[in-house]
Structure formats: structure tokens, C-alpha cells
């Protein structure tokens, strides 16, 4: 029993000394900057971030000029962070008139990039909100949640200054500039900090404005669609009448059989 007690003390002292020796070695190596225990710290804000590899999935970026609005990314996305509209350009090619990526929902999985047929969609190599590699900041709207626009560094500074001042104290020029950079409807922004939010009446106004525009657009689209449909219907009836006149039996499957 006494021997076990002695052994216990020995083991304790041994483990204590071994542990202290190990940490001491770490300490010495760290201070001297050599060996396996050199400080591995990347002093990020003071030193630039090291992004390793070329496959880094930063945030999504769409080259609008080669996007064909095929909705492949939309279909591949598990969280539905895309919403897009397309229109035909002069060469009758589909081009994105609106391409919104809700980066507050994006999970950076890269499935959309793998699905993209034209390589227009890519992920940046900078990390999510890297101000160093992006040389500026991407602005994200909070509630409508989309990548809004990119600001260059001086603009970022100016905006942060302006947005953190009471709005009433801004000059008209500054206020106009601020409104031009930041959508007043986006209540506040992801990725851009210290930015203000806007008074509810401003938001209500902006909402109403947007709603009005949307309704107008919808109404216009509906009218156009109705007109087009009427036109098409007339044409189809005409064609059908012509067809029926030509082949009395008609095809029951409407010409869709393989």
C-alpha cells in the first residue's frame, strides 16, 4: 500500500514534469520562432488574408453578359437564392435583365456553379466579405436579400461616414448620393457594417414606390400578354380552321407524338 502511494506520487510528479516540459518546449520554440511550435497565427486584419487554392468558394458572381438565363442554377440551388428575369436582346439572345442572388441565404455549396452551362456563374476567390481582395465592399440588401452593388474603397468610406450620421444633418447633396448608392428600401445591409437603417416612413414610401412600379410593370406585362394571347389565339384559330379544312380526321394528340 505504501509502495502504491509512493508510485502514485511518482506518477503525478512525472506527469507534471512531462507536461510542464512539453509546454515549456512549445513556449521556447514559439518565442524563438523555430521548430514545430512556431506561432501559426495569420495576423489577419494587419496582414492580408491567405486564401489557399483556386477552388475557393467565395461568394457568387454572375457575368451578366454571357448569362443566358437558363435557370439551371435556380434549379440546382437547394435554398432558392436565385431570382432572375430575362429578355431578348437585339440578336434574339436571352440576357439577364435582373439577376438577384440572395446572399443571406446562399450556403456556398457550389452546386449552381457546377450546373451553369456557360460558366457565367462563378465564385470569387476572395472570402465572403473580404475588403482587401475585393478592393471595396459588396452590399447586400437585408430583406429582399440580394447582392446589390459593389462599392470601391473611397466610396465605402464616404458611405460609412454618411450613413452613421443622423440623416437630418446631411446636406442635400450627400443625402442624394447616399440614396443613389443605397437602396432605401433595403432596410440595412449585410456585409456593410455600421450602416444605418432608414426611418419607417422612408421605407413605407420606398415600398409603396416599388409596389407601384411592380404593379405597373405587371399590368403592362399582363396587357402585353393578353394582346399577344389574343393575337395568337386568333392566329391559332385561323390555322386550325385551315388545318381542319385540309385534314378532316385531325390528329388527336395535337402533333405531340414521338
Amino acid at each position: 500500500m505504501i509502495l502504491a502511494w509512493v508510485n502514485g506520487i511518482y506518477e503525478g510528479v512525472d506527469a507534471f514534469l512531462t507536461g510542464m516540459g512539453t509546454t515549456a518546449r512549445f513556449l521556447v520554440e514559439n518565442v524563438r520562432g523555430q521548430g514545430g511550435a512556431t506561432a501559426v497565427t495569420r495576423q489577419y486584419p494587419q496582414q492580408p488574408a491567405e486564401i489557399v487554392g483556386e477552388r475557393v468558394r467565395g461568394h457568387l458572381f454572375n457575368k451578366a453578359d454571357i448569362c443566358i438565363v437558363c435557370h439551371a442554377c435556380d434549379k440546382a440551388c437547394p435554398v432558392d437564392c436565385f431570382s432572375m428575369d430575362g429578355e431578348r436582346d437585339a440578336n434574339n439572345k436571352m440576357r439577364a435583365s435582373r439577376f438577384d442572388i440572395d446572399l443571406s441565404k446562399c450556403i456556398y455549396c457550389g452546386l449552381c456553379v457546377r450546373a451553369c452551362p456557360t460558366d457565367s456563374l462563378s465564385m470569387t476567390t476572395g472570402f465572403e466579405i473580404d475588403p482587401h481582395t475585393d478592393a471595396g465592399r459588396y452590399l447586400f440588401r437585408r430583406n429582399t436579400g440580394q447582392l446589390d452593388r459593389k462599392l470601391d474603397a473611397p466610396d465605402v468610406v464616404r458611405m460609412a461616414q454618411l450613413a452613421n450620421q443622423p440623416r437630418e444633418s446631411l446636406s442635400a447633396e450627400d443625402r442624394a448620393w447616399l440614396d443613389s448608392v443605397v437602396d432605401p428600401a433595403g432596410e440595412h445591409l449585410i456585409g456593410m457594417y455600421g450602416l444605418g437603417y432608414f426611418t419607417p416612413e422612408e421605407k413605407a414610401k420606398a415600398d409603396a414606390e416599388r409596389e407601384r412600379k411592380k404593379k405597373e410593370k405587371e399590368a403592362a406585362a399582363a396587357a402585353a400578354k393578353a394582346a399577344k394571347a389574343a393575337l395568337e389565339k386568333a392566329a391559332a384559330e385561323k390555322a386550325l380552321a385551315a388545318k381542319e379544312a385540309a385534314t378532316p380526321a385531325g390528329r388527336p394528340d395535337g402533333g405531340n407524338a414521338p
Binding site: R42, S104, C106, Y108, D130, N143, T199
Partner: protein
């Protein structure tokens, strides 16, 4: 509650040399010593852990983790908040002492992220329960992004005024439909005051809803309905 946006005597920096100077000094301390609450729920928690680890070492920036909310200045909401968890997050936030800040880290805390569409149990954005100062995108955000978010938060902390008027209260609830907090102007979720047009002017800079000593919100507008 006064609107600090309107210039009035005593609110001008040059008029209160001593107060603003001391305030600036106090804000310097707060900015450089943000102890964060060890609060992690999901994936972002691992990244938060690694940010505290040797590679990214937020201790350099004066940030050390504290286990108890009483001693923490900053709550980094790292991970998904479910409906079941949300009231606990609120409790934790209430237990933190002023001045306190909240960083929402990652898509889940920002807006529900991958779970925003199909999930029945995930809270779509932690700002429905607590006011958030900085949102960091990412799923999970890289440690650099987290540090970047903290640096941006520090810009905000720098403007915090202990003694003088605050230019802008950082604790106005910003979220869409927060049932708590003091944001009166949103969708009727925060009491009837939103209907009165006069009340809207207060929303910009109203004081923190907490009395200095109580540690509890002085007024809780609404609550679990």
C-alpha cells in the same frame, strides 16, 4: 426620448469637450476589449472555435471568450437558431450587461439560410428575437470574414457614447418583425404606437429600453403572443 438627430445645445461635440473626450476614451476601451460569449449552436460554432484558435487568434484583438453572459460584451450568434432555442437566446441577451453587441454569424442566423425555405422548426433570422449589429454572410463564414465583421463592429462601438448623447443607439431592434425591443415602426408588431405618425420620428435614436440598474428591459413591447 428625444430625437438626437436634431441639433440641440449640448449635443454638439465641440460644446462638450470633456464629456466627449472621456466618452471617446471609454469607447476606445470598449472597442478594444470585446469579450465574447461562448455561444455556439451549429456549424459556425466550429469556425468560431477555430477563429479563437492559434491560426486566427482573436485574442490578439482583445477578444477572449467568457462563459457567462454577465461578463460578455459581444454575443456572436454562431449557428442556426430554432424556434425552441430562440427564447433562450433572448434570455442570454437579456442577461448580458450594457453595453452589449450582437453579431449574427452565417446564413442561418442572418435569415435562416439553408433552412429558410423547407424547414418548419428554424427561426428565419435571429434578428427576430434580438437586435443585431452586424451580419456576416457565409455558410459558415471564414474566420477572416468573422474577424472582418468584428472589425466593422468596432467601428460601430467607437461611436458608442457612455456619458453624452448617443448619436445612434445600437440597440434599436432592426429586424423585420421583432416582437420585442423598442422599434416602434414595424408592421404593427411592436404595439400600437406605429400607427401614430408622431411616434415614427422617435425610431431613429431612442434610448435603450433598459434602465441602467435593472438588467431587464424596462418595457417589453409585446411578447410571445
Amino acid at each position: 426620448m428625444v430625437d438626437p438627430g436634431i441639433a440641440r445645445p449640448g449635443n454638439d461635440p465641440d460644446e462638450q469637450v470633456l464629456v466627449t473626450t472621456v466618452d471617446e476614451f471609454l469607447a476606445w476601451g470598449k472597442e478594444n476589449s470585446l469579450f465574447y460569449l461562448l455561444f455556439a449552436t451549429a456549424c459556425c460554432g466550429i469556425e468560431l472555435m477555430q477563429t479563437g484558435g492559434p491560426r486566427y487568434d482573436v485574442d490578439r484583438l482583445g477578444m477572449i471568450p467568457r462563459a457567462t453572459p454577465r461578463q460578455a460584451d459581444l454575443m456572436i450568434v454562431a449557428g442556426t437558431i430554432t424556434h425552441k432555442m430562440a427564447s433562450r437566446v433572448r434570455t442570454l441577451w437579456e442577461q448580458m450587461t450594457e453595453p452589449r453587441w450582437v453579431v449574427s454569424m452565417g446564413s442561418c442566423a442572418n435569415s435562416g439560410g439553408p433552412f429558410s425555405k423547407w424547414s418548419y422548426s428554424v427561426l428565419n433570422g435571429v434578428d427576430k428575437y434580438i437586435p443585431v449589429d452586424v451580419y456576416i454572410p457565409g455558410c459558415p463564414p471564414r474566420p477572416e470574414a468573422l474577424i472582418d465583421g468584428v472589425m466593422a463592429l468596432r467601428e460601430r462601438v467607437r461611436k458608442y457614447r457612455t456619458l453624452g448623447m448617443r448619436d445612434r443607439d445600437p440597440h434599436v431592434v432592426q429586424g423585420g418583425d421583432c416582437a420585442f425591443g423598442s422599434h416602434p415602426g414595424r408592421d404593427g408588431a411592436c404595439g400600437p404606437s406605429s400607427a401614430a405618425p408622431g411616434a415614427l420620428a422617435m425610431s431613429r435614436g431612442d434610448e435603450s429600453p433598459r434602465t441602467p440598474q435593472s438588467g431587464k428591459p424596462a418595457q417589453v413591447n409585446g411578447g410571445p403572443a
